[in-house]
């Protein structure tokens, strides 16, 4: 962390404000002059993209809430009212529904970035843990949001997933009844999901602030995984990364707008344009694409309760990453073995997503089980083992110094000291 720079208020008003509520100082220190590693690549722009996704969802959501009615007899029709009669209603609705998909796409890339560059490692454990909390909140928010249109998938997806609560021994059934407000998914459920769907994004917003705060305490990681040593390694956040983040966001927007304007329903399911019918189950109940990997894990396990535990476990295991992967070399760039296993991890995650939409039988079931095993093995077995046995490839001495040290030397001399051991915090 660079403490050489100091914000100095320039004019009378700034000085006055600075003594009472240092807003300008805060903005300057965190947004403008914040020293950021100069070698960040485009994978590092997704934090900003995600913030914009959150803001977009909140604004479009609040506007939709002006017209939506959270009652089982009116919900579906109120959404059609938005689509047909409200000025630009169709646009705002498609922004919100496709925005949710964009939000998850961005968060997956953001998380894969963290896994690849070791951003979850010491001293950034709390940033990572807060991130997993945000991810969990996003899933809950998204799940409840999908119920609100009260289509066939809304209703039956809610029924299947809430029924999982009943698998908990002893307390499962009463807890389920409490959650539903009744004996099946019905109006009380819809009403409370609407209230909570409105609330949780603001909770997410709060956790995001903590997440960024924690980041600013330690400073950003960077693609080398080697900590910043001095101001030669950093540049001010503004204008370099404000502009770069904005550029990345505009590229992201191009993709977002392709969906909104030219293919707004491709990421959804046609059955959700059919009003919910508790008496008629659709042929295949499928959640939204971003929940498919977890759905695949759930159905891979023959025992219902174990399936539920593993499904939640697949996210809970993420909390423990900083203690499962303890290798001092952070970045996969210099970890040839980890890189290969990580590549397979990504492939298996995508495969799980594909399998989540397929019926759980035959080859699909077999592949789901293999993928689930690999998923957990990657975190619980491979990471700890690699932490102990992996030898890193030659690493540069620092961000600004591309000269590599020879890590095969065992100690002795500055150039022989592995750079990752030179980190001090």
């Amino acid at each position: 962390m660079n403490h050489d720079y100091q914000y100095t208020p320039k004019n009378g008003f700034s000085k006055w404000l600075d003594k009472r509520l240092p807003l300008m100082r805060f903005a300057d220190e965190n947004l403008l002059s914040f020293p950021t590693p100069k070698n960040l690549n485009y994978f590092y722009t997704f934090g900003f993209i995600l913030t914009m996704c959150l803001v977009t969802q909140i604004i479009t959501g609040i506007v939709l809430a002006m017209h939506y009615v959270p009652n089982t007899s009116l919900a579906f029709d109120s959404i059609e009212h938005i689509m047909r009669d409200v000025n630009y209603g169709w646009l705002i609705r498609y922004m919100h529904s496709n925005g949710a998909s964009m939000f998850f796409l961005a968060v997956f890339i953001h998380m894969f970035r963290g896994l690849y560059y070791g951003s979850y490692k010491e001293p950034r454990e709390i940033i990572w843990i807060l991130g997993v909390v945000i991810f969990l909140l996003m899933i809950i928010t998204g799940f409840m949001g999908y119920v609100l249109p009260w289509g066939q998938m809304s209703f039956w997806g809610a029924t299947v997933i809430t029924n999982l609560v009943a698998t908990i021994p002893v307390i499962g059934e009463p807890v389920l009844t409490l959650l539903l407000g009744g004996y099946s998914v019905d109006n009380p459920t819809l009403n409370r999901f609407f209230s909570l769907h409105y609330l949780l994004p603001f909770v997410i917003f709060g956790v995001v602030i903590l997440h960024i705060w924690a980041l600013h305490v330690t400073g950003n990681n960077n693609p080398t995984g080697i900590e910043v040593k001095d101001s030669k390694d950093t540049i001010s956040f503004h204008p370099y990364y404000t502009v770069k983040d904005l550029f990345a966001y505009v590229v992201f927007l191009l993709m977002f707008c392709y969906f909104i304007f030219y293919n707004p329903n491709i990421l959804g399911h046609p059955d959700n344009y059919i009003e919910a019918d508790p008496m008629l189950t659709p042929a295949h109940i499928v959640p939204e694409w971003y929940l498919l990997p977890f759905y695949a894990i759930l159905r891979a396990v023959p025992d219902k309760l174990m399936g539920v535990l593993l499904m939640f476990g697949s996210i809970v295991v993420l909390f423990f990453l900083p203690w499962l992967d303890t290798m001092k070399v952070k970045s996969a760039r210099y970890r040839p073995l980890y890189k290969i296993f990580f590549l397979f991890f990504v492939i298996f995650c995508l495969l799980l997503g594909y399998l989540g939409a397929k019926p759980p039988e035959g080859i699909y079931l077999l592949l789901s089980r293999v993928s689930t095993i690999y998923y957990f093995a990657f975190f619980l077995v491979i990471m700890p083992i690699l932490s102990r046995i992996e030898k890193p490839s030659p690493m540069p001495i620092g961000i600004s110094n591309p000269a590599t040290n020879n890590t095969s030397d065992s100690g002795g001399g500055v150039s022989g000291t592995p750079s990752y051991a030179m980190d001090s915090k």
Partner: protein
């Protein structure tokens, strides 16, 4: 190990391509026996627009053939005259609406009053309730058609194929009871009898009303009915994408300029 670095550099694009692919496969038509016929509709593609004459004919098919069993409850008569649709004249729409009546309000004795419908009224429902609809149709509920095209994978091609697709000869191994055989319907046994025959309708504009023509026109009309704002969506999309492409170029140049003196 440079190979890996190059692959990973492009990972973002791989992600996106794979996600496109997975989502497309997740959305593939389930349960259809045949692949849908694709006659090609004018509204397809990023610059697509509705063929207004076909929409008008399609409305005629709906109102003369389908509306006795199938509702169109999300639409009002006034939608028929709004831009982006069949664009009937306002006078014509008033005429169409006035042919139907609706109970609205009470007289001084508390008896319900009848009046003829206005453009602002919704299309009338063929049945009072879902149960009544089922009762009148051998237990099968004729779905409301407002969203049918969005509620089916590849909706407009499916509808077109289905309406044209009734076949007299039933495959030997299929037992369909007293239902009709249509190979495009999942499972093949459909409760709706063939609704369209040559000249079921006499088109106002004189176009020969073959089964193929009527299926095409009504599929067109119902696509509009499911999404009346489609033309505006694509028009706005063109402006937005155009703007973003220019903006992204400007942003890219700004980033390049800024980062020239870093490193």
């Amino acid at each position: 190990m440079n190979i890996f670095r190059n692959i990973f550099k492009n990972n973002m694009f791989i992600f996106l391509v794979l996600i496109f692919g997975f989502s497309a496969s997740a959305n593939s038509a389930e349960g259809t026996t045949f692949k849908n016929l694709k006659p090609g509709f004018s509204f397809e593609g990023p610059f697509g627009k509705f063929d207004k004459e076909s929409l008008k004919r399609g409305y005629q098919v709906y109102s003369e053939v389908c509306s006795s069993c199938h509702g169109l409850k999300q639409l009002s008569f006034r939608n028929l005259s709004q831009p982006g649709g069949p664009e009937f004249s306002i006078e014509r729409v008033k005429e169409i609406a006035s042919e139907y009546s609706i109970t609205d309000g009470f007289d001084e004795y508390g008896e319900p009053l009848e009046r003829s419908m206005l453009p602002s009224d919704r299309f009338p429902r063929p049945y009072g309730s879902k149960e009544e609809a089922k009762g009148a149709n051998n237990g099968a509920y004729p779905p409301d058609l407002s969203l049918i095209v969005k509620a089916r994978a590849d909706g407009y091609n499916y509808l077109y194929s289905l309406l044209k697709g009734y076949e007299e000869e039933i495959p030997e191994d299929l037992d369909i009871g007293d239902l009709s055989y249509n190979p495009w319907y999942p499972g093949g046994a459909i409760a709706m009898y063939q609704p369209l025959y040559d000249e079921s309708v006499e088109y106002e504009d004189g176009t020969p009303a073959t089964i193929d023509q009527m299926s095409y026109d009504v599929a067109n009309f119902l696509t509009w009915a499911a999404e009346p704002t489609m033309e505006e969506r694509k028009r706005l999309g063109f402006i937005v994408m155009g703007f973003l492409i220019i903006f992204v170029i400007l942003m890219y140049l700004s980033v390049s300029r800024l980062f020239r003196d870093v490193h």
